[in-house]
């Protein structure tokens, strides 16, 4: 072996052990550089031998053959390559796109609020009320996908040794099993409807939506299947819709609230003639001011109902409350402290009425009227034909046609009469045109009941009850003395054209006297 030449040829392994490089320095005797020498050098470095190495060495020697060491300097050629390892991926939970968007928006809003910055220029043109930041999910809704941690793929160095891959970290994602289920395929599904809350590495669904501050631009409009609790108030022009009940601790401004069950306002609503409250069941409030309220069952107000339009299908139970201005329609009983005001605010109270049902009765009566007229006309025409003694096939044809018309109209009337009877029975059952005033019934107040309208010409001190007597006349009962006075003695009476009169009803449906 020629030591000098031997020193001018080497095989070195890279620090990451993924490459072995042949280096030939200038000054070497070119004849010294052969496959045996290179192989020996490789083996000395513990490089894995085999056909691949042999092939690479041959290629190196071919490349060396044309290589001018003097001109170009040292010759280098990679004669062996390893395979890098692939580290495993950490586990990941990816939110569904629509929820991710809301999450992003929520973060953005929070950041803006923190820094007290304005919205982006792009955002300025959008209605922020519509862009809710609350992740509302339905039962059965897909929330996202879990990607489990992977082990990674090991590599091999040039010496044939394994390069171990780093496995991914399996994060301990905690999904509340009561409200969320994780399937084997990684799908994450909501078990209940509610608000999806992601906190750190845990997630759960709260069936109650709790808004710690205001419903405003930071929350957007709310449309939630479960109960909604708002700890502050609700700002102008915002909407809160709940599939159950809504509770608000602070002030409701000119906003719209819709609850399938109850609405509970620890304060009240200041609607400025725009705000609305719609409850499938009860409304409880401290006060109602200039709002439109539709109550499926009872209305309970502590302080006052002022300048509101209210329709109550149950009763008004507000013995300490004043009803001033506006129009309150109640199907059941009405109890309050005061009706009207000393200043003369025009207050209308319609008793034993449910406007929606009234409208239905009126429409049905119209239809029945049209059908009755059609049947009567056909019958009259049949009579005309009958009066004509001449028989002819034309006359017979016409009689048949008219008979059919009359009977068709009568048969169409039947289901309408049944519907009317049902509706009317409902009104009669629930209708209790009784007003109990514990304090004062003010002059100028207008009470409508039993088809009459009474505008009180004097203030009457309570406790008193206004109701209909046996013949349907309005009477005022002094609850202290028990005396009964016809309302006509203390009010100006006139017919209430807004109500359908019992006389309009078909005879069979009028309540027996």
């Amino acid at each position: 072996m020629d030591t000098q030449d031997d020193n001018l040829i080497s095989v070195k392994v890279s620090s990451d052990r993924l490459e072995a490089t042949l280096t030939v320095m200038p000054g070497i005797d070119r004849n010294y550089v052969n496959s045996d020498v290179v192989l020996a050098k490789a083996v000395a470095q513990a490089i894995q031998t085999g056909s691949a190495l042999t092939k690479r060495i041959s290629e190196a020697l071919i490349a060396f053959g044309d290589y001018d060491l003097v001109e170009r300097g040292a010759f280098q050629y990679v004669i062996a390559k390893g395979q890098a390892s692939e580290d495993g991926q950490d586990s990941q939970f990816t939110l569904e796109t629509e929820l991710a968007v809301i999450q992003q928006l929520s973060k953005k809003r929070a950041l803006q609020a923190e820094k007290d910055t304005k919205a982006d220029e792009d955002d300025e043109h959008l209605d922020h009320r519509e862009r809710s930041v609350i992740m509302v999910v339905k039962a059965g809704q897909r929330l996202g996908q879990i990607k489990h941690a992977t082990d990674g793929i090991d590599g091999t160095d040039v010496c044939g040794n394994t390069i171990s891959a780093k496995p991914g970290v399996q994060a301990s994602l905690q999904f509340d099993s009561q409200s969320i289920e994780c399937h084997d395929n990684g799908a994450v599904i909501a078990k209940i409807a509610g608000q999806l809350l992601l906190e750190g590495d845990s997630a759960h669904i709260n069936p109650t939506l709790v808004i710690n501050e205001y419903v405003d631009y930071s929350t957007g409009n709310i449309d939630f299947p479960g109960k909604v609790e708002v700890f502050e108030g609700i700002r102008d022009c915002f909407e809160v819709v709940s599939g159950q009940s809504i509770t608000v601790s602070g002030l409701v401004e000119a906003a719209d609230l819709v609850a399938a069950r109850d609405i509970e306002l620890h304060g009240g609503i200041s609607g400025r003639d725009k705000g609305t409250l719609h409850a499938g069941r009860d409304i409880h409030a401290h006060y109602l001011n200039a709002a439109v309220c539709k109550v499926g069952r009872d209305l309970i107000v502590e302080k006052e109902i002022c300048d509101c339009t209210v329709v109550v299908t149950g009763s008004v139970r507000s013995p300490s409350s004043r009803i001033m201005g506006g129009h309150v329609s109640v199907l059941g009983t009405c109890e309050c402290w005061q009706v009207g005001s000393e200043a003369g605010a025009h207050t209308i109270l319609s008793l034993g009425r449910a406007d929606a049902l009234d409208g239905l009765v009126r429409d049905t009566l119209k239809l029945i009227g049209k059908l009755s007229a059609k049947a009567a006309k056909a019958k009259a025409q049949m009579q005309e034909l009958n009066d004509n003694p001449e028989a002819s096939s034309l006359k017979a044809e016409m009689m048949t046609s008219l008979k059919f018309e009359a009977s068709e109209a009568e048969s169409k009337k039947k289901p309408l009469m049944a519907a009317l009877e049902g509706t009317y029975k409902l009104i009669e059952e629930k209708s209790e045109p009784t007003l109990t005033v514990q304090g004062l019934l003010c002059q100028g107040s207008e009470i409508r009941a039993g088809g009459h309208k009474a505008v009180f010409t004097q203030s009457i001190q309570g406790p008193l009850t206004i109701r209909l007597d046996e013949i349907g006349e309005m009477v005022c009962v002094d609850l202290k003395s028990g005396s009964v006075t016809p309302v006509k003695n203390m009010a100006k009476l006139s017919p209430d054209e807004s109500s359908f009169s019992r006389q309009e009803l078909p005879a069979g449906l009028r309540k027996a006297a």
């Binding site: 025409q381 005309e384 034909l385 004509n388 001449e390 002819s392 096939s393 034309l394 006359k395 016409m398 046609s401 008219l402």
Partner: protein
């Protein structure tokens, strides 16, 4: 069989005449309005009349009422655009035996004519 056609439209009279021709009726008298018809019925003595409603000088209903004062039995078919039930009843009350609404197919008209004449025969 003598048939009188009372219609202000010559076109309609031609069409009706053509249908009657197909049915084998050739003794046909035409009148252009109720007045004209009244002046001709006495001499012609039709066995059947086909009368339009809306005509100048005297409309079809007025003619029928007048005609029925002296002749209760000769069958009259009203051939008109008036299709409302109240109009048909008015026509029956006036004394019309059958009714054809314009537009009509020749088959419809011939069917009404045959029906009216067979009823009269019965």
């Amino acid at each position: 069989m003598k048939i009188m056609l009372v219609d202000d439209s010559k076109t309609m009279r031609s069409i009706q005449k053509s249908v009657l021709g197909q049915l084998g009726y050739s003794e046909i008298e035409e009148a252009c309005d109720g007045q004209d018809a009244l002046s001709k019925v006495g001499a012609f003595q039709p066995d059947l009349l086909l009368v339009d409603w809306n005509m100048p000088n005297m409309d079809g209903i007025t003619f029928v009422k007048n005609y029925r004062q002296s002749n209760k039995t000769t069958p009259i078919i009203m051939v008109t655009t008036e299709s409302e039930k109240s109009r048909v009843i008015e026509a029956i009350k006036a004394g019309v035996n059958n009714y054809v609404v314009k537009p009509f197919t020749p088959d419809a008209l011939s069917q009404r004519i045959t029906e009216t004449l067979s009823k009269k025969a019965a």
